[in-house]
Symmetry: C2
Subunit: 348 residues, 2 copies
């Protein structure tokens, strides 16, 4: 498997299947783990990082889920490929920086990805389409146990798993759910919801994690604390809060359909009309219009639109994806032209 194989398949997080997938795009759990016999990557020298990488790589490819996976050293990738992986949520922004024996292992269907020598030695991630933290947890827990048998994890009986950043100590677990909340945004309810979240131990972020703004009405919700509670408790709390947000979004969608029908139809159909007829469109506008089209498909207002195609477009219209499809570097102007062309073709 090579990087270019990924281009022809849909990313797990946009497959649009699974429970509550009209609102919950994807469920994700990641575990931060470190090797006790090596310094944390940031404090290790090159030799040590290289040794750790070699050890982890060997172990990972013995795990059945990863046997046919993809291994890529970040140092060997160009800027475009790094951004491509970032856009697919397979690596973090942190992982694209510097030349530090960083690598990533990606399972066949992109459900599992493991970053090596990121902030921590191992950042194991499992993605599931829809509202499905339980399957994600089952799988990542199984993986973690298999790895623990072969790797000597840095673990303290008092603190739990040790990590480079104290905010990850303990379980090393971050569970997150990506939600599509157009109705809460349109009805200006989202602000109130985001404000009360921190009291519930939940953090909200944009589509591309920390420091990114909500784009296309996508919001990522995840647990704030990793310490002092069990993995199951952390996941359970996130699930309960997000279940509530899903209900709010559903109610708002019904209310919009009932009370603001013309305005809703207007926004959705116009978005569809613009996307099908653009010859020039930037990434931000694309996300927002696709969001409306997705809502239209969810509500059966746009009956002929294939949800799968819309979901794919969220990803394929990202800058690096466009350039990978085109097979060459494109400047911003060229991307805006190419993006519009791709959308017109796919929505024809």
């Amino acid at each position: 498997m090579t990087l270019n194989n990924l281009l022809s398949q849909s990313s797990e997080w946009l497959r649009g299947t699974g429970a509550d997938s009209q609102i919950v795009i994807s469920s994700r759990i990641r575990l931060a783990r470190n090797l006790s016999d090596f310094s944390f990557p940031q404090w290790a020298d090159k030799k040590e990082r290289k040794e750790a990488l070699s050890l982890m790589r060997g172990v990972l490819f013995k795990i059945k889920y990863l046997k046919n996976g993809l291994f890529a050293e970040l140092d060997g990738l160009d800027v475009l490929d790094k951004q491509f992986l970032l856009e697919r949520h397979l690596i973090s922004r942190e992982q694209t920086r510097g030349r530090n024996c960083k690598a990533v292992v990606i399972s066949e269907k992109e459900i599992i990805s493991v970053m090596l020598n990121e902030e921590d030695h191992l950042r194991i991630q499992v993605l599931q389409s829809g509202f499905n933290l339980s399957d994600a947890w089952r799988l990542i827990n199984e993986l973690d146990e298999q790895l623990e048998q072969k790797l000597n994890y840095a673990f303290s009986p008092q603190w739990g798993y040790l990590t480079a950043c104290p905010t990850n100590v303990g379980t090393g677990l971050r569970a997150s759910l990506m939600l599509h909340l157009p109705a809460l945004v349109m009805s200006k309810q989202i602000g109130n919801i985001l404000q009360t979240l921190s009291k519930l131990g939940i953090v909200a972020r944009g589509l591309y994690g920390e420091g990114t703004e909500a784009s296309g009405n996508f919001f990522q919700f995840s647990n704030q604390l990793t310490l002092g509670r069990s993995e199951e408790d952390i996941i359970d709390n996130l699930e309960r809060v997000v279940r509530q947000i899903v209900n709010y979004e559903e109610e708002r969608r019904k209310l919009l359909l009932k009370q603001k029908r013309e305005i809703l139809y207007n926004q959705i159909w116009r978005a569809y009309g613009v996307l099908k007829n653009s010859y020039f469109i930037n990434s931000g506008e694309t996300m927002n219009l696709l969001s409306m089209v997705r809502l239209g498909a969810d509500l059966s207002i746009l009956k002929d639109v294939e949800l799968r195609k819309v979901n794919e477009l969220f990803l394929l219209t990202q800058p690096a994806h466009l350039q990978k499809i085109e097979g060459k570097k494109l400047n911003a102007y060229q991307r805006d032209v190419k993006r519009a062309e791709l959308i017109r073709e796919r929505l024809k």
Copy 2:
């Protein structure tokens, strides 16, 4: 013929035929005339206005062009019908105001309209599609001569035709050309052109005359002075200046096609996409989007669009037209919904 008959026919000024009709929508000449045996309408009492009206009506319906025309007293029309005539450029805003024995006579194809008891006793207007002031002049001159044989015009050998407002004294003639100048607007050249016009004795106005803003990239150009020059000179000067503006617009269209192809296609196709998919649209946005669609049809970018349908929409989407079509009063919200519905149907 009744007012409602007009609804089913295209207004002459938007027929989209004639010379240079890609840029010059219509040519219009009006003559201001008064009766010497009656006070000007504003200074006459009701009885006098009534007598003048009766006299003029009798004479007008003996003219062959007006025999099968429509006669409507403004006092007998409701607000909607008045606005309807205004939207069709058949009466002035002035003519819709007050209850003063005002009337209008409209020829079958709306080429001729004569306002009675407006600011002046007679305001004779001839409209021609495209760049065609010569036919408009020939026709209005013929009409004027026929009327002069039967009516005693207020005329001074020194000043020429006398009018209520001194700016019309002399020839009483106002010639105007309605132009569609999207390329000059898009390339921000229109400002310079408008600035130099007054030096050339030309006045620029928006779609609905004095005090209205340019909407849908439509501009009306007309002569500033009516005194001290012959009718032919006035018309000739306007024609020469406007010919120049037509050339500029043509050059700019070619330049846009050559240098800003994607941006041009983008604006035109998006406008088309939005119009075909709106469920709510106000009058201003409609004009601007229709303007882009018209440009697209003119440049053969939108090959399937019938120019006739687009031209009709400029008129049918106006507030009073929408309400006449619907057969009842509509508030602003209802109009925006109805307008979108009408556009979707007609562009399907």
